[in-house]
């Protein structure tokens, strides 16, 4: 305990001395988030300094081993770091698919050389990654993907297309699922490869969404030559990596990553905007009842995330298939939250442009949440996983 107390004191002092004041103001929108990458333009000097200082200590990825750019911290130390950062409202120095998804996959499946080559740049925010999973005709049936990687001797020749590739137009590299064996069962002919988005044959096209903007792209591969050294794990066994990584992604989406369920609750926002009566209760009884129920569910859900993480930590394992519970429940809850905020906003929620509403931030956010129960595996797929893997119900 004494060592942890000392760690807390040291961490607090270091953060106090090194976190710029501008980085202690809550993130107001996507524009304030630091994504890094080869072409990243820092929004401010403070953003640059904050990333550089945190990366130098390995604290952008505090739990990763030191030799790969991480902080080498224990679970308890990571928790303390998060608590101390929260205490001064410090922003996350770096958000990245490299940290959330590719990094954990490489740590579990990559060779030592691959870890040395890719992990430190991820930790320093030098390479921005995108994820090449979904395909136009696969959807929730991800394993039926058709993008092919043909054997070209010392390299693969990749041909096909991906869809819903978040930030593909801004990414430097892609981690991509490709079919390397068309004769095997659909889960057994897939491989996991890495390549550069600037290489010949790669192109992207943004997709406009109902929210009026979107991070999503279509991505096309026309005979892209990828060295075989860029294969992660075993040829044709990429599905194992995909599954491992999806668990991380579901935990993240369901668990409030990317700002889901962050901030104040609809009831608290409505109390501020609409006001409460002498009895402390929101004046609109129908709205209040629905908000009270959502509040109960949101608080109990937050406890469930904590419980799962504590269970995983004390058992020395991951959350596993229970990430499907978090993904399902968390995303449905987030949709409810935005429905309630739209009801509370009234006609103000109908404004699409203009400074008063920050260009229709609320209705755009409301529309964006409709994708929560589709992306990363639909709610129906999550329920299938819970039914079959956790409850062991029979297949049809």
């Amino acid at each position: 305990m004494e060592a942890l107390d000392q760690f807390r004191r040291d961490t607090r002092a270091w953060l106090e001395a090194n976190c710029p004041a501008e980085m202690r103001v809550p993130v107001r929108g996507d524009d304030d988030i630091c994504w890094g990458g080869r072409n990243w333009v820092f929004k401010s000097e403070a953003q640059r300094v904050w990333l550089e200082r945190m990366a130098a200590r390995g604290w952008t990825v505090p739990a990763w081993p030191r030799e790969y750019g991480g902080g080498g911290l224990s679970h308890e130390e990571v928790t303390i770091l998060k608590q101390e950062m929260a205490a001064i409202k410090a922003r996350s120095p770096l958000e990245s698919f490299g940290i959330w998804m590719l990094g954990p996959a490489l740590l579990a499946f990559g060779s030592h050389e691959q870890k040395l080559e890719y992990l430190p740049p991820i930790a320093r925010g030098e390479i921005r990654w995108c994820q090449g999973y979904s395909e136009p005709n696969a959807g929730s049936d991800l394993a039926s993907l058709q993008t092919r990687a043909d054997d070209g001797g010392d390299h693969f020749v990749v041909t096909g297309s991906k869809i819903w590739t978040s930030y593909a137009d801004k990414a430097d590299m892609i981690f991509c699922l490709v079919r390397t064996d068309f004769s095997a069962a659909k889960h057994l002919g897939i491989s996991f490869i890495l390549f550069d988005m600037t290489w010949p044959g790669v192109s992207t096209k943004p997709i406009m969404l109902i929210s009026g903007k979107s991070p999503f792209c279509e991505t096309f591969f026309d005979g892209v030559k990828v060295p075989k050294a860029n294969l992660v794990g075993t040829l044709n066994r990429g599905w194992d990596i995909a599954k491992y990584l999806l668990t991380h992604e579901r935990e993240m989406i369901g668990g409030g990553g990317g700002g889901l369920l962050g901030g104040r609750s609809p009831g608290q926002l409505a109390a501020q905007e609409i006001g409460v009566g002498d009895d402390g209760r929101l004046a609109d009884p129908f709205l209040r009842v629905d908000m009270a129920r959502a509040e109960v569910d949101a608080l109990a859900f937050a406890l469930t995330m904590t419980r799962y993480k504590d269970e995983a930590a004390s058992g020395g394992r991951g959350v596993g298939d229970k990430s499907s519970v978090l993904k399902y429940y968390g995303t449905e809850l987030n949709k409810r939250r935005y429905e309630l905020m739209m009801r509370a906003a009234g006609t103000q929620g109908l404004e699409w442009e203009g400074a008063r509403t920050n260009d229709g931030e609320l209705p755009r956010g409301w529309l964006r949440t409709k994708a929560n129960s589709i992306e990363g595996g639909t709610s129906e797929v999550m329920l299938d996983i819970v039914a079959k893997r956790l409850l062991q119900l029979p297949s049809a």
Binding site: L282, M291, F301, T306, M382, V386
Partner: protein, 378 residues
């Protein structure tokens, strides 16, 4: 850490083993079919006392285990799985909390060892109408001689049919609806003027409507502060509500488990019905809800152990969530079992009946959702 520690895990194993063996659902059926007036099995209660459970919240120096609320909740959850009838909630949780927190030295000496030994049953008498509303207490306690005279009546006092004493909320000042002016008394059930009418209940356990007709008590029977009893009552109710939430969680887990087993067994249209996606998705949704409720329950029990006076939000969260999830579990259990779920021959209906009682006592899901919203500022 929102997980059980080593001691709590050991207790959970012991509780599960004991309760499954000594108090299966068949024991409740027996109480019901034989119309046992007590509404519980005194021999079982004695054995629970020997295990130390009756003293789980009684401090060690008074002869108890001093194990804490998480431990008490573990026992409630296991009893919820088998619908065990006992005065555990009223006596080992609520009365033990009341006396150990606010009792005078004399009260502690008189009641705590007796609670720990399983020799006395104390029922909490609060509500006077159909819905839970402690601040609406109207039962009068007028100063009389060197003590008080109680007059009024309480409805649906759980374990009231067997209580040796009542923890009574009474009004010493103000009027019904005001938070000030409520005081708590420990009243011997054999005193002149105390009468109870046994209620045959939906869950086959029993409760009582209790009348106090000019019951003379002494100043030594006051528990806590005069006129300022609501704070203490809140803590006592916190223990009861968290215990019921844990029980409801166990109830939901068990009726759900039985339903999933049935889905894997029952065949219709040439298939196991558990292979139908319409049922799989509802089962998976219910599983998720039960997971969420379990977290809220453990959160409440840990909050009570950390600070009973500051646990109101966590407790209301747990009671609201557990009550609504257990209701969904009961509804789905009956529906998915089909016609057989409606028969008395299988146990599913018994879980639904107890769910209704445990949900209603000390505030239903709506009552507690309202409190959560108020605590959160709207």
């Amino acid at each position: 850490m929102l997980v059980h520690d080593e001691d709590q895990r050991l207790l959970a194993d012991a509780a599960k083993g004991f309760i499954q063996e000594k108090a299966p659902v068949a024991a409740l059926r027996k109480l019901r079919d034989e119309k046992v007036a007590d509404g519980f099995d005194r021999d079982l209660w004695r054995q629970m006392a020997e295990m130390g459970w009756t003293g789980i919240l009684v401090p060690e120096e008074a002869g108890g285990l001093g194990f804490g609320f998480v431990g008490a909740g573990i026992i409630c959850e296991e009893m919820g799985r088998t619908l065990t009838a006992s005065p555990f909630l009223s006596t080992a949780m609520m009365a033990a909390t009341a006396v150990s927190r606010a009792g005078s030295p004399a009260q502690k000496e008189r009641w705590l060892p007796a609670i720990a030994a399983g020799e006395t049953i104390i029922a909490t008498a609060i509500d006077e109408g159909r819905k839970h509303a402690p601040e609406k207490t109207a039962l009068k306690a007028e100063v009389s001689g060197n003590g008080f005279r109680l007059s009024g009546a309480k409805t649906y006092v759980a374990d009231g049919q067997v209580a040796d004493a009542f923890l009574v909320a009474a009004r010493t000042a103000g009027s019904a609806g005001e938070t000030k002016g409520i005081s708590l008394f420990l009243v011997d059930s054999k005193l002149a003027g105390v009468s109870s009418e046994r209620v045959v209940t939906l869950d086959s356990r029993g409760a009582a409507h209790v009348s106090f007709d000019n019951v003379q008590i002494t100043g030594a029977d006051v528990l806590g502060e005069i006129d300022d009893g609501l704070g203490l009552l809140e803590i006592v109710l916190g223990a009861g509500r968290a215990g019921l939430a844990a029980e409801l969680s166990g109830n939901a887990q068990e009726s759900f488990g039985r339903t999933v087993d049935y889905l894997k067994e029952r065949k219709q249209f040439g298939r196991t019905i558990g292979a139908f996606q319409a049922l799989q998705h509802r089962a998976a949704h219910l599983f998720s809800e039960i997971e969420i409720a379990k977290s809220a329950v453990l959160g409440a029990l840990q909050a009570l152990d950390a600070d009973p006076a500051g646990a109101a939000l966590a407790v209301s969260l747990a009671k609201s969530k557990a009550a609504s999830v257990a209701r969904l579990a009961a509804q789905e259990a009956i529906q998915m079992h089909g016609g057989i779920g409606m028969t008395d021959a299988i146990d599913i209906g018994l879980f639904a009946k107890r769910m209704q009682v445990a949900s209603e006592l000390y505030g239903d899901a709506d009552f507690h959702a309202d409190r959560v919203a108020l605590a959160r500022g709207f």
